[in-house]
Amino acid sequence: MDSARLALESTILERYLPRRYAFVHPTDSSRSYLDVGLKTKSGNTYRLKILIPPDYPSAMPLVYVVHPKPLYDYHKQDLTSIGASGKMHVLTSADGCVQLCHFKGSLWHTNITLYKVALKCLIWLEAYHNHLLTGNDIDYYLRHCPQH
């Protein structure tokens, strides 16, 4: 991420997620990520690792839940064991961390900020908590992107 974009992202995050985020290796494009903590209505706190690709913002970041680990579903099954799932809106996991679906690659554009990605993941987390309470799949709460 170039310095101008980093400054923009930092300004937005500082305003809306103060003390809840940290850029790790922000100037090293090969291992740069955003570490962000999000809180759900249930009072649980989650830490997300938002991997920033070298060609960000042209390319979309990948998002992993790094804490708590593992994440369990309603049936006490480790969510990483189910692989990519449309019903649960998750992608293939890595290092025991669930990867969240967020924006669709073909609809991604450079105006989408890391703050917006974090908000989308917070919506996923609230849907996940409802899944834990009811057993409904996450796609009961969250729609799929249009297929085009």
Partner: protein, 63 residues
């Protein structure tokens, strides 16, 4: 209480998933760091971010 608020938000998301209009807004409150359901007539913090559209854009599954 927390479970009640979680369920309220879940019902709101499910309704939106079915294209049902509730008249409510889902907003992110930067003070509490949480999503909040704002009903018509409720005061909305000027610093809050409305996330209705982010939710309604849908979630991708790219394999």
């Amino acid at each position: 209480m927390n479970e009640k608020k979680t369920k309220e938000l879940g019902i709101e998301l499910a309704e939106r998933n079915r294209n049902k209009s509730t008249g409510n807004d889902i907003v992110f409150d930067p003070v509490t760091g949480e999503l909040v359901l704002v009903r018509p007539g409720d005061r909305k913090d000027p610093d809050s971010t409305t996330v209705n559209q982010i939710a309604e854009d849908g979630f991708a599954l790219v394999i």
